[in-house]
Amino acid sequence: MNGEVRDLAVDTRTTLLDALREHLQLTGSKKGCDHGQCGACTVMVDGRRIYSCLTLAVMHEGDEVTTIEGLGQPGNLHPMQAAFVKHDGYQCGYCTPGQICASVAMLEEIKAGMPSHATADLTAAPRLTPEEIRERMSGNICRCGAYSNIVDAITEVAGRQA
């Protein structure tokens, strides 16, 4: 868990999301739907983004889980968190941890050459276009509608990385 080993005894029905929020009291990961429909619960497991409400905690023994709390803290923001603040990539903030976790993992997917629906040439390295970012981030709903700003934030971080 964010670099630490944590021992937990949970109900077999407990989702990874509830293990985080209720058992570990890491409430940065949000529950918007509990049904894999919104992305608010996005965390990274072994570096890959995942809807933590759609997976049971007991399936993750030994896995490395990174949540928004593991990315950065106030005063020590991850570059993506800082870019979201700078570009106002949020409003109510409820989808935000999920958007940030998803965008950090998503940039790695592009780096690794994974194609998306928006990738025209499946054999070439995917390019970092706004269309690619929008397509790949579409599993994270923001009802406040901060999309335009979120894409600006991600683009800035991606530019810096490249």
Binding site: T27, G28, K30, I68, Q91, G93, M137, R143, G145, A146
Partner: protein, 739 residues
């Protein structure tokens, strides 16, 4: 402080902090997951148990019996409370549907039980074990079918829009009959769901007869009052805390079942209880924007001047409910001597219809602004020019009554210029790019500006720090930040020196977040409190407050200079005040305006619509923080795209419920649906509105967007769709031949 004469020069006009696009002060908390939302307050009460709410499985009728034996015996269960265990609870002042108690079912997914257990999984599981025997009754679920039974009904949305049941100016029928160019069209808008990302959630804890709820509510004082009323306890015994709200859009204006059942569950179980409404329960258990059927008639001379305009709207709601005030903007937006507006309300047995972002104007402009486009087409006029020609600088129903500010024409002109409107093909279907039919659309945005009394307390400490306390909420609007900017400007300190505490009912009652009144009104309340604090500081320092200036953490008067903190002493200095309003809002019409421009591509083969560009030019008074204000507008534009293209609660007319009641079935815009969005704020200050000279923007941004999208689709394809949402099935068989 009473605000009853137009504002003159005041400390806000320095604009050292106010008006600057500063980052939100709560940004680091929100981006790191540290901002505490209602369900997440592990620290506020020990030993919290979990609640799960069960909703009714019928649309109308009553419960004959409930068997809870198995549920009660299930592992971990602490309490099972059903609606049969108590008589119908009294309704909150703002509620239409009853929230709990008694055997009668008014609507689908009405709360009928709460299960409290040691864990979330146990509570949810046990709730599924409750056996319910219903007696179904026939219900009225079809708005169009109920139209003949609808009654003329006046209403005020309470959010800035309202209309008499029927209003007539001049002789509409005669003028319409004589007009050489006319339109008579009927449009429909569907039921819509707020679908805010944070579900309704509450933690409730009792200490003796005192109740505290940590909840997610836009209007703290309303929530507290109505929770007390519903539970039958004095309001003084209730504390409500709502410092972070994960979206509301009107869906969290009122007391809902989560707070009531957390409180009742906690009382029954003898433990603090936390619960959230499950996502699939929300659309039917809570409120929604009601569907409308709207008829619009416009008559104009060949010169394009409107001579007759009528807007009639039909909507439905539960008994004692209200109509959607969709005709409201038509009373004020365009000139024309002969006018008619009317609203009809049908009784329906669907869930409660109520305010959603820009109630009234949002669905009203979705139709009016398409009708204007249709008229422009009939007149063979440019739709921008047609609107400008029919602009009015006074309230058309009350000649002589001026708008405090009205820059609609500039919004449209500047928008057209920036958007490249001159590149729009006048003839629909005239612009093709490969598989895409491309079109541009325009619509006027209009939303009234409401002002609401609002209080705040400000505290100065010895270090020159200022703390603001008010029960105002931040629902993503940026309240924390603009309140801090206001206090910093008033007290002459940097932003970092201001702490803002919101959402607690023990703080002074504020305007709350609704009807786009929150930003202007709550900061005006902070202004009033700061004025009082400035007086107190001056008095402590023995200087004349009129001569004192508050700059860079110092108070300067004549040749005296003292650090601000010096006035605080060891105990600090506290001032509290409230802004109240005189009759300026009566004497002047206060409204906000926008020009919305949209470009779409419609797939010539599939009819799929993609929004390619969006621009809003807004005139909404002083913009307190251009960064967060822009976010409000782009968010509203996004919701406007949803309304135009995809959002619709599908009604099961046999059983009486919204079928697509989760985020998989109720589609809202995602990243891939939204292009880069441009927002321009015209330079405007409105001294009639408040000492802040600001107005609201949070709802203006959605007003007109849907119509601009619809008009762009028409321009692209030549197909006019009058029934929202404009999904591809409504275009498919009418698309131009593919070459």
């Amino acid at each position: 402080m009473k605000f009853d004469t137009p504002a003159t020069t005041n400390p806000i006009d320095q604009l050292k902090v106010v008006g600057k696009p500063v980052d939100r002060i709560d940004g680091p908390l929100k981006t790191t997951g540290m901002a505490p939302y209602a369900y997440e307050r592990h620290d506020v009460a020990p030993d919290q148990a979990y609640g799960h709410v069960l909703g009714a499985g019928i649309g109308k009728g009553r419960i004959a019996a409930m068997d809870t034996a198995v549920a009660k015996a299930a592992p971990g269960v602490l309490a099972v409370l059903t609606t049969l265990d108590m008589p119908r609870l009294e309704k909150g002042q703002m509620n239409t549907a009853f929230l709990f108690g008694g055997a009668d079912i008014q609507h689908y997914h009405q709360a009928i039980a709460v299960v409290v257990a040691e864990t979330f999984e146990q509570a949810r599981d046990a709730a599924a074990m409750i056996q319910v025997r219903y007696v179904r009754e026939p219900g009225r679920f079809d708005l169009a079918a109920e139209a003949p039974n609808a009654k003329l009904t006046s209403a005020d949305s309470g959010e800035g829009s309202g209309a008499a049941h029927e209003e007539r100016i001049g002789d509409f029928e005669a003028a319409f009959a004589q007009a050489p160019v006319t339109l008579d069209a009927t449009y429909t808008t569907p039921d819509e769901s707020h679908a805010m990302m944070e579900p309704h959630a509450t933690i409730a804890a009792w200490e003796g007869d005192r109740l505290t709820v940590w909840t997610s509510n836009q209007m703290v004082a309303w929530g507290r009052r109505d929770l007390a009323k519903t539970l039958g306890i004095p309001a003084e015994k209730v504390r409500l805390d709502s410092p972070f709200v994960g979206g509301g859009f009107g869906g969290k204006l009122f007391l809902r079942a989560d707070a009531v059942l957390a409180a009742l569950g906690a009382r029954t179980a003898g433990r603090p209880v936390k619960l959230a409404l499950a996502r699939p329960l929300m659309a039917n258990n809570t409120t929604h924007r009601p569907a409308t059927i709207q008829r619009i008639r416009i008559g104009a001379g060949r010169d394009g001047r409107i001579t007759a305009i009528a807007h009639e709207s039909l909507s439905g709601d539960l008994p004692d409910g209200q109509p959607e005030t969709a005709v409201s903007q038509t009373k004020l937006l365009y000139a024309g001597a002969n006018r008619l507006t009317a609203m009809r309300l049908a009784v329906l047995d669907l869930p409660e219809g109520n305010a959603m972002r820009a109630p009234g104007e949002a669905p009203g402009l979705m139709t009016l602004e398409v009708a204007m486009d249709e008229m422009a087409e009939r007149l063979e006029m440019d739709p921008v020019e047609f609107r400008i020609l029919n602009d009015t600088q006074e309230d058309p129903e009350h000649p002589g009554r001026r708008f405090s500010q009205r820059q609609l024409v500039r919004c449209l002109r500047e928008g057209a210029e920036r958007f490249g409107w001159n590149r729009r093909a006048a003839k629909p279907g005239g612009h093709r790019e490969g598989r895409w039919l491309v079109g541009m659309g325009v619509a006027a945005g209009f939303r009234n500006n409401l002002v609401m009394a609002s209080g705040a307390r400000v505290r100065l400490d010895g270090g020159g720090g200022v703390t603001v306390e008010t029960d105002m909420t931040d629902i993503g609007t940026g309240s924390y930040t603009i309140i801090a900017q206001t206090a910093a400007e008033m007290m002459g300190v940097p932003l970092e020196k201001v702490a803002v505490r919101l959402g607690d009912s023990s703080f002074p009652v504020s305007a709350g977040s609704g009807g786009q009144w929150g930003g202007n009104s709550s900061t005006a309340g902070v202004y009033a409190a700061c004025m009082k604090l400035r007086e107190a500081v001056a008095q402590r320092l023995g200087v004349n407050s009129a001569e004192a200036s508050f700059v860079d953490g110092e108070v300067r008067a004549g040749n005296r200079v003292a650090p601000l903190g010096q006035a605080a002493g060891v105990d600090g200095l506290v001032a509290e005040d409230r802004i109240e309003y005189g009759d300026l809002a009566k004497r002047y019409q206060q409204s906000t305006f926008a020009g919305h421009f949209v470009e779409v591509g419609v797939d010539a083969a599939t009819g799929e619509t993609r929004v390619r560009r969006m621009l809003a030019v807004c005139a909404a008074g002083r913009i307190l923080n251009p960064k967060s204000a822009r976010s409000q507008v782009i968010g509203a534009m996004t919701m406007g795209v949803g309304a135009a293209l995809m959002e619709e609660l599908a009604v099961d007319k046999r059983h009486g419920f919204f079928v697509n009641h989760d985020l998989a079935g109720y589609e809202v815009p995602v990243h891939a649906d939204i292009p880069h969005q441009d927002v321009v704020f015209l330079d405007e200050v409105d001294p009639i509105s408040s000492p802040m000279k600001a107005k609201g923007v949070g709802e203006l941004g959605i007003c007109g967007v849907g119509a601009a999208v619809a008009n762009a689709i028409h321009n692209a394809t030549g197909v006019r769709v009058r029934d929202y949402p404009i999904t591809l099935d409504k275009l498919l068989d009418r698309l131009p031949e593919v070459a």
